[in-house]
């Protein structure tokens, strides 16, 4: 950068060729040789620019003429300097402007980088929040499943109670009969009839015991719910099992009708699908009025299996339908359910790369359709 404290030298003021030309002209004008010196010498006349001697003139000319020659050269230098100084200043100003621009540019880039960093960390925070929400949703989902299992267990206890009741009463009667048999054996009368009755009692008890063991098998299957076992399974059998578990919730035995086509076994997580079917049936049953019916169908459609759960219950308004998949949305009273039924079904179906459709009409009922791939790629 040009420093205006430093005085300009002769060469900076006027190019050497011009200086030479000027000296020839001066010599011709004065009619005697004039030599330009770059360093002071005795008897030489200084040539100044801005109070600073920049050259000296040496000549045999009389002093006034020598002074005039120096003054003429000074005049020349002064006007040359005007341009030189203006040009230098212009350059300085332009450079400063350019530097300022570059600094602004650098500052801009820096702030851009800062914002990029900020937005990255924002994205990270959003991601971690989303993770947290997912995890807590997962927990809710798990606890909803646990609750369902709990409800089932309660139902089962009731269901087991009945056969146990008559089994024990029958066995008591059988005990009495055995007493009578002992007496009759002595009297030898009526023996054949008693033994026959005794047979049927034992058969009934046996049947009761079988029912209990069947129920217990179902419970076990359902209690397997947390087992994340991926395998090929029979969807129809799963539906039947699930329905048996819901038996205590049915108004009449024929409340639910099954129309199940022959199906290939499909790959997936039977425990999860069972949960989805359980939720779908529970929702359907809860929507039913007095004469309510639920129809469950399965059939293969192209490379999918279509499962429908259709009820003629009170149905859903458009608003309810639109919000039905929100994790906490429920139309039931507080405490009657978390409202996680449909979201859980959606989760399960999505995890199996399936699809889902919900149609519903107030007063007409609801139809939930699931499609599950036959050749699965479930994760």
């Amino acid at each position: 950068m040009y420093d205006d404290r430093e005085e300009l030298s002769l060469d900076e003021l006027l190019p050497p060729a011009q200086v030479t030309r000027a000296m020839i002209l001066l010599t011709n004008l004065c009619g005697a040789e004039i030599v330009l010196l770059r360093h002071p010498e005795a008897q030489a006349t200084p040539v100044e620019f801005s109070l600073e001697p920049v050259a000296w003139l040496k000549s045999d000319l009389p002093i006034p003429q020598r002074r005039a020659a120096a003054a003429l050269l000074e005049l020349l230098l002064f006007h040359a300097a005007k341009y030189r100084l203006a040009a230098n200043l212009h350059l300085t100003a332009t450079e400063a402007n350019y530097q300022e621009l570059q600094q602004q540019h650098a500052a801009l880039q820096a702030s851009e980088a800062r914002y990029r960093l900020l937005s990255e960390s924002l994205q990270e925070r959003v991601d971690s929040q989303v993770r947290t929400i997912r995890e807590s949703q997962q927990k809710l989902y798990e606890s909803a499943r646990l609750r369902a299992v709990g409800q089932l267990a309660a139902g089962m206890a009731h269901e087991i109670n009945t056969p146990i009741g008559f089994i024990s009463s029958n066995l008591r009667t059988a005990q009495e009969y055995l007493g009578e048999i002992t007496e009759s054996a002595e009297a030898e009368s009526n023996l054949g009839e008693l033994i026959e009755d005794f047979h049927s009692l034992l058969e009934e008890s046996l049947d009761g015991a079988n029912r209990i063991s069947g129920l217990i098998r179902d419970i076990r299957l359902f209690a397997n719910i947390d087992q994340t076992d991926h395998r090929h399974f029979d969807l129809n059998a799963l539906i039947e099992t699930t329905l048996r578990l819901l038996q205590p919730d049915l108004a009449t035995p024929d409340t639910v009708t099954l129309r199940l086509d022959r199906l290939p076994r499909i790959p997936g997580y039977p425990a999860k699908i069972g949960q989805a079917i359980h939720n779908a049936l529970t929702n359907a049953l809860r929507s039913l009025g007095d004469e309510g019916k639920v129809v469950v169908t399965t059939r293969p459609v192209d490379d999918m299996i279509e499962l429908t759960v259709q009820d003629n219950g009170h149905g859903m308004s458009q608003e309810v339908r639109e919000r039905a998949f929100e994790p906490f949305y429920t139309t039931r009273e507080v405490g009657m359910g978390s409202g996680l039924g449909l979201p859980v079904i959606l989760d399960v179906v999505t995890a199996h790369h399936g699809r889902l459709n919900l149609t519903s009409e107030v007063g007409q009922g609801t139809c939930l359709t699931l499609w599950l791939p036959i050749a699965g790629q479930a994760s």
Partner: protein, 217 residues
């Protein structure tokens, strides 16, 4: 070789406030031991384009060579980068304000611009020797002295100098005031009084010496 000290003094202020006129008057009035040509770089309508420059100075025996380069900046707003370049490395500033009532906004803008540009070239308006001149006192529609006192008396730049550069009034006084404020810094940096026996009054006298035929102050 004598020790050379070069000092740069810049006349700053809004367009048309009379900076160039100040310099023309100094050129006409001052008679220091040494004075160079007055370089004026202006457009056809007398607006300064790059700067004006007047070199003055004095030498003391063969020991000291003091030069003052008096510059003006172009006041027009659009020449800001030129103003900044001229201002760089200044040792002192004379702010020429226009006293006319309708110019007060321009004065304020220009003063702020001065502070800004000083900062940009690494100088501090609170510390640089600075004199504020209110010029064109010969006109009629001007800010009253009372008002100026109210506005400026609590600032570091009080007292102001009132001037009519056109008539040559207050121009030398402004320059003298600046030299007064400049002297301590120069003395400290170069030991003017210690090494050369130049105290403040000598410094002022040698640089504000006027021609015999002019005694306008």
């Amino acid at each position: 070789m004598p020790n050379k000290i070069v000092l740069k003094i810049v006349y700053y202020g809004p367009a048309m406030s009379g900076k160039t006129t100040n310099l023309l008057q100094l050129h006409a009035l001052l008679d220091p031991q040494r004075m160079g040509e007055l370089m004026v770089m202006e457009t056809r309508d007398d607006r300064t384009l790059f700067f004006d420059m007047l070199p003055i100075g004095f030498q003391q025996e063969q020991t000291l060579d003091i030069r003052l380069k008096l510059y003006t900046v172009p006041g027009q707003v659009e020449h800001d980068s030129t103003r900044k370049a001229v201002l760089s490395r200044a040792d002192g500033v004379i702010f020429v304000a226009d006293s006319q009532l309708n110019q007060q906004e321009n004065n304020a803008v220009s003063f702020e611009n001065l502070a800004d540009n000083l900062h940009k070239v690494g100088l501090d308006i609170e510390r640089i020797p600075l004199v504020v001149q209110f010029n064109k006192r010969d006109l009629s529609r001007i800010v009253e002295e009372k008002t100026l006192r109210e506005r400026w008396s609590s600032s570091a730049w009080w007292p102001l100098v009132l001037s009519s550069a056109l008539k040559g009034h207050g121009v030398i006084e402004t320059f003298e005031r600046l030299l007064e404020r400049l002297y301590p810094a120069v003395n400290e940096a170069h030991g003017l009084s210690r090494h050369y026996g130049i105290d403040r009054s000598v410094f002022l006298e040698r640089l504000t010496r006027c021609r015999e035929d002019h005694h306008v102050r």
